[in-house]
């Protein structure tokens, strides 16, 4: 039983991180109705910027704070540039045009980030504790082994997820974002500044990318592979729905736990290495019963 809990816990902790990445997608989808293919590239770009600035500013009085401020400023700049150069010319264009534009942004950012900062592997140490600890020793024989790094990452990611959920559901800007997502023209007609909203949402997505990049980067080292972790968010989105913050959270947990449990308990019977595609299978299984995803909105169109 202790081993099962250990597997489950590690899956849930991985799931929180998937949720964090998925949230970046959800934010932009809610505000602009576009699937942002560049979210992974933004994770890489933000983490690369942060880690390289940390190196450049290592002799300054507050390297981490300064690097963080400059990186955030760069993510704001990026959001503004994307709004001005990519989104604004495409207002009221079909969703697929916007999607293709984000594809272009992804390739640009991948290349630009590596040209600017290099494509080597960069160690990132922001003081997250290393090693592992045993928990629940009184409940299970031998206890449950948990990596401290994963625990801290889960807490940080969890806090951010909760903050964003509140931001979206309870604040005026959050409601405006949802209005823009529903109908660009209608939102503009009631005085919601579309461009301003887009900059905000891309900035927030950039900050989410920064947090995800720093957490994963401190685990793996900052390198190109960070852009690929966005792929882990896709089954989460399929499962949770593209428009639901809660869906991203719950979906992430289900996918995280599902893939680890499947790998450990089903994997040995089919040769192993199944967790990657099992996540998609799990999501597709859910779709058979809820095509809009767990918490996606049901669209009813009059014809």
């Amino acid at each position: 039983m202790g081993f099962f809990v250990e597997v489950l816990l590690s899956g849930l902790m991985a799931g929180v991180l998937y949720s964090l990445v998925a949230l970046g997608f959800v934010l932009i989808f809610k505000a602009s109705g576009v699937f942002n293919f560049a979210q992974g590239a933004m994770v890489l770009f933000a983490a690369l910027t942060f880690v390289r600035l940390l190196d450049i500013l290592k002799d300054s009085f507050a390297p981490i704070t300064l690097s963080l401020i400059i990186t955030i400023a760069m993510m704001v700049m990026l959001a503004m540039a994307i709004e001005r150069l990519v989104l604004r010319p495409l207002v009221n264009q079909p969703g697929i045009s916007l999607f293709m534009a984000t594809l272009g942004i992804a390739y640009f950012l991948d290349g630009f980030g590596q040209t600017l900062w290099g494509s080597d592997i960069y160690t990132l140490d922001i003081g997250i504790p290393k090693g592992s600890i045993f928990i629940l020793e009184s409940v299970f024989d031998g206890g449950v082994l948990v990596a401290k790094e994963d625990l801290v990452a889960t807490v940080i990611a969890g806090l951010l997820v909760v903050t964003l959920a509140i931001f979206f559901q309870k604040t005026r800007i959050g409601r405006a974002l949802r209005a823009v997502a529903d109908d660009h023209q209608a939102a503009q007609s009631i005085g919601i500044p579309l461009n301003y909203i887009w900059v905000i949402v891309w900035t927030v997505a950039g900050l989410v990318a920064l947090v995800a990049g720093v957490i994963w980067g401190s685990k793996l080292g900052v390198q190109f592979s960070l852009s690929l972790i966005a792929l882990k968010a896709l089954p989460v989105l399929i499962l949770g729905g593209f428009e639901s913050v809660l869906g991203a959270v719950i979906g992430g947990l289900i996918i995280g736990a599902g893939e680890k449990l499947s790998e450990i308990y089903i994997g040995p019977y089919v040769g192993g290495g199944i967790e990657y595609w099992f996540a998609y299978m799990l999501a597709l299984g859910f779709l058979m019963f809820r095509p809009q995803g767990l918490f996606g909105e049901v669209h009813i169109d009059r014809v």
Binding site: R84, D120, I121, L220, F224, I229, I264, Y276
Partner: protein, 464 residues
């Protein structure tokens, strides 16, 4: 919009930021060696135009971008800088300058094939030899090489049975195949346990990249497991290897006596971190040579101390490195950072290039001192005979062992050393360990015969 002016200002500042960062980072941001060379100093006679009718063309498949770039860059730097050194220091190979062109593969098989097709006909005589630098690409190019008559040097990777020159006349897995590496590791585990028989009842886990590369050692390990009665636990990790917690949870559950790590790129450092997370002793983990370089251990920092890997060539600087520093770096013609010269993967690239150059030199002894075709260079590789004396002349004493190939044996000496990460650098932890050819040879023959049958090739062209 009120932020429009700010946006314009910020965008205008980007080139200044880039320029500033370039000064901080030196040449590490270089995308190709040619760019750096041409901008940094005089490259007359060192960088030779591919269209030069008197130069020998060597294609370079490299990956300086993408998930495997941290490992691909030092290999490409070592390879291209050795070629440049030959031009700068020796005036080419017996006076024949080397021209080369890099093609970015991103470590993707499809792009590697594109690069192969693009480069194979360049230069006055076409490509001399290809080093695909990827097992997946090698599998694909192996089918094309006999048609195009261009040899492949696959140092430490590719098809293990391709050492059989009778079936694979165009493949040269010099310095070891994956079966050789796996056998060296099992032999070492036998040595530290007082004999191979003492592996009975032990558990050995293989954590492998779920790709042709990662699967390559499995037949050998399965055979050894049945011979010595140890349990082999196979744990695949999906590309690129950033998510492998399940494998390590399994390791915590099974508590194997040893873990063999068959990874590449980010998978390796992640594995060491995960091992730390499940408190698996690092000194019981043994990597393949592609998991035994600086980018594999540095991100894991102190957690990696004690980890060992089998090695074709370790880190350090011989005379040839000093020449590279003085002829290239002192003249501002280096491709990467000065500190990178002599790191493990840099040396792997350099050794690859040294084999290419010596093969061309050998071929020149038969066909004349002029640009040669791939077919002529193939003869040069097959007749390579690099002695200790030659190695000393090459400035590589202690960094390579003699190579003597033949029509039927395209691998040469089947031995390797292990090296251990001490927190600062890699240091050899064993002497040369030989693989047991009594185990390997029948497997090679069987696999090569199967390939020959399926491809409709003669079972042994060396006998005809």
């Amino acid at each position: 919009m009120k932020y429009g002016t700010l946006l314009r200002t910020l965008l205008l500042s980007v080139p200044l930021v880039i320029a500033g960062c370039g000064q901080e980072d030196g040449a590490s941001d270089a995308t190709t060696s040619n760019e750096v060379t041409q901008s940094a100093g005089s490259s007359d006679g060192i960088i030779v135009d591919v269209s030069d009718p008197n130069a020998q063309f060597v294609p370079v498949l490299s990956y300086r971008t993408g998930p495997y770039a941290p490992n691909g860059m030092p290999v490409a730097n070592g390879f291209t800088e050795y070629l440049k050194l030959i031009n700068a220091r020796d005036g080419g190979i017996n006076g024949v300058k080397i021209s080369f062109e890099e093609c970015e593969t991103g470590y993707a098989t499809a792009r590697s094939i594109e690069c192969y097709e693009r480069l194979k006909g360049k230069g006055p005589t076409g490509a001399a030899v290809f080093n695909p630098m990827s097992t997946g690409a090698t599998f694909a190019i192996t089918e094309k090489a006999p048609v195009d008559k261009i040899p492949l040097i696959t140092m430490g990777y590719g098809r293990s049975e391709s050492r059989n020159g009778g079936v694979f006349p165009w493949n040269f897995p010099i310095y070891g195949t994956y079966w050789t590496a796996a056998d060296v590791l099992v032999t070492h585990l036998g040595d530290i346990n007082g004999g191979l028989d003492n592996l009975k009842g032990k558990k050995i886990a293989l954590v492998y990249h779920d790709s042709p590369f990662g699967k390559e050692p499995i037949p050998l390990l399965e055979k050894r497991a049945s011979m010595h009665d140890f349990e082999l636990i196979k744990l695949p990790v999906t590309h690129p290897g950033v998510e492998q917690k399940s494998a390590w949870i399994n390791i915590r559950k099974e508590q194997p006596d040893y873990v063999l790590l068959w990874g590449w790129g980010v998978m390796n450092s992640t594995a060491i971190k995960e091992a730390t997370g499940v408190r698996y002793p690092r000194d019981q983990i043994y990597g393949i040579w592609w998991a035994g370089a600086e980018p594999d251990v540095r991100p894991a920092a102190a957690d990696a101390v004690g980890y060992q890997a089998v090695s074709m060539i370790s880190s350090g600087q011989a005379q040839v490195h000093k020449d590279i520093l003085s002829y290239l770096y002192d003249a501002g013609l280096g491709s990467g950072e000065r500190a990178g010269v002599g790191e493990v993967l840099y040396n792997v690239g350099l050794l690859n290039a040294a084999l290419v150059v010596e093969s061309i030199r050998t071929a020149q002894s038969k066909y004349g001192e002029k640009p040669l075709t791939g077919e002529q260079v193939r003869w040069g590789i097959e007749n390579l005979n690099i002695t200790e004396e030659n190695i000393q002349d090459l400035g590589l004493s202690g960094y390579m062992y003699p190579v003597n190939l033949s029509c039927s044996d395209h691998e040469g000496k089947r031995a390797a050393r292990l090296h251990r990460w001490n927190g600062e650098s890699w240091e050899y932890s064993t002497d040369w360990i030989s693989a047991d050819d009594a185990v390997l040879q029948p497997m090679v023959k069987s696999a090569a015969d199967t390939y020959a049958k399926e491809a409709g090739l003669p079972a042994n062209a060396c006998e005809s």
